[in-house]
């Protein structure tokens, strides 16, 4: 007699009838399998539940229209498909944003980018786009500094605001950091160091408490704005000279 049949006898006190291969499995074997599954699932759920809490999915930040369009243009330029890059620029969000932000951008940025793409000049197009994203990041840094300096705001709100701005600044700056480092490594390092410092001031303390003084992040954020302003100025000047 097999051990399986022995177990069946212990449970129900009767031998399991001989099986033909067309017969469905007995209730006992199904019950045993079900019980094992239930037990394993319950134990697993109990072990995992405290760590993962309730499953509510996760969020992965997505590219916005501007960053998506920038990547499309960049990859087209890298593939030497300047006709495609030009078309993507003309119809995309980068050019629309350049127009919307024209007041704070160096003059002629849109025309210069278009001319570079028409002339199949990848380096010049990259420089123009670098200036554009550096300007977007700088404007965000200026606004972050202003909002972090507003009186009557709780440290929690100030820290949360700081984190959100830093995330937005990094989303834009990160796209052109390589291009910045290739042209002005000191500025690239300065921005990254200032960013790390600012992040340290606004990240939650141990136990999720608000940081002591998130307003301290203003200083490195001001530095980011200053370094990027200088970068935009010098890059625009050299771009004008070379054109």
């Amino acid at each position: 007699m097999t051990p399986m049949i022995g177990r069946v006898r212990r449970v129900f006190g009767r031998p399991e009838p001989a099986r033909s291969f067309l017969r469905p499995p007995s209730v006992v074997s199904v019950l045993t399998a079900l019980a094992t599954t239930i037990l394993a699932t319950t134990i697993l759920a109990t072990i995992i539940a405290p760590a993962a809490a309730h499953h509510v999915g996760s969020y992965v930040p997505r590219d916005n229209a501007v960053t998506t369009n920038f990547k499309q243009i960049k990859f087209s330029v890298q593939a030497k498909r300047f006709d495609v890059a030009l078309q993507l620029f003309e119809q995309g969000a980068v050019r629309a944003e350049m127009r919307a932000q024209a007041a704070t951008l160096p003059p002629g940025l849109e025309d210069g980018t278009r001319a570079a793409l028409r002339a199949s000049d990848g380096l010049e197009a990259e420089r123009r786009l670098m200036i554009f994203f550096a300007a977007l990041a700088r404007d965000l840094a200026v606004e972050a500094d202003r909002q972090l300096g507003e009186p009557g705001v709780t440290p929690e709100t100030r820290a949360a605001t700081g984190r959100k701005f830093l995330e937005a600044i990094w989303r834009y700056y990160n796209l052109v950091d390589f291009a910045v480092a290739m042209r002005d490594s000191k500025s690239s390092v300065a921005v990254r160091l200032a960013f790390d410092e600012a992040e340290g001031y606004v990240k939650p303390a141990t136990g999720g408490a608000a940081p002591d003084d998130p307003a301290k992040a203003r200083q490195p954020i001001q530095r980011i704005a200053q370094v990027l302003s200088t970068l935009i100025e010098t890059s625009s000047t050299s771009a004008r000279r070379s054109s």
């Binding site: 449970v11 007995s26 209730v27 019950l31 019980a35 309730h54 509510v56 959100k164």
Partner: protein
């Protein structure tokens, strides 16, 4: 039918349990269909409510920052509806399967009733937490809404299901060891 033959058959849970389970599955299907049919309307409604409560969502008035916050909340709003659809569908089947096991292996009527009630209410109630979470996100933010759904629904109904499953597992184990 002899007693030996009786022991070898599955027993059905009470009808109201089956009704609740089927209702849960039906709600899941309706929820899933509505989610797809009214996706644009639901997103627009949620977005408008979020924009009307900038402080709750920590909006700072800068598009580059706020769009990311709104996007996260909208993704979670949608995830809540999807999770309701999936859990209600799955828990409906879990209710049917587990209450059938309870009806078959629990010999004592009060024990059988208690396990059945816990499994049914817990299983049918738990998915509603996702619907509640989703509905509250525009007004309370993802974290605030999660805290409410957790204490009102997930913890009580989830605990009922877990407790009943442990109880049932214990009973099955007892039956397997012949006691």
């Amino acid at each position: 039918m002899s007693a030996v033959a009786d022991a070898a058959v599955w027993r059905l849970p009470p009808r109201w349990v089956l009704l609740v389970a089927l209702l849960s599955i039906a709600c899941a299907e309706i929820g899933g269909a509505s989610m797809a049919r009214f996706k644009v309307e639901l997103t627009r409604w949620a977005r408008e409510r979020m924009l009307a409560r900038p402080a709750v969502h920590g909006l700072v008035g800068v598009r580059d920052v706020d769009e990311r916050i709104l996007d996260e909340a909208l993704v979670k709003f949608d995830a809540g509806l999807r999770l309701f659809h999936m859990h209600a569908e799955g828990m409906g089947l879990v209710i049917i399967a587990t209450t059938m096991v309870a009806a078959t292996v629990a010999r004592s009527a009060p024990v059988r009733r208690a396990i059945t009630v816990l499994l049914t209410t817990g299983g049918a109630g738990y998915p509603v937490g996702y619907l509640l979470w989703s509905a509250l996100i525009p007004s309370y933010g993802p974290d605030g809404a999660k805290a409410i759904a957790e204490w009102l629904v997930w913890v009580p109904f989830g605990s009922a299901t877990i407790a009943a499953l442990w109880w049932l597992a214990g009973l099955v184990a007892l039956r397997m060891t012949g006691r």
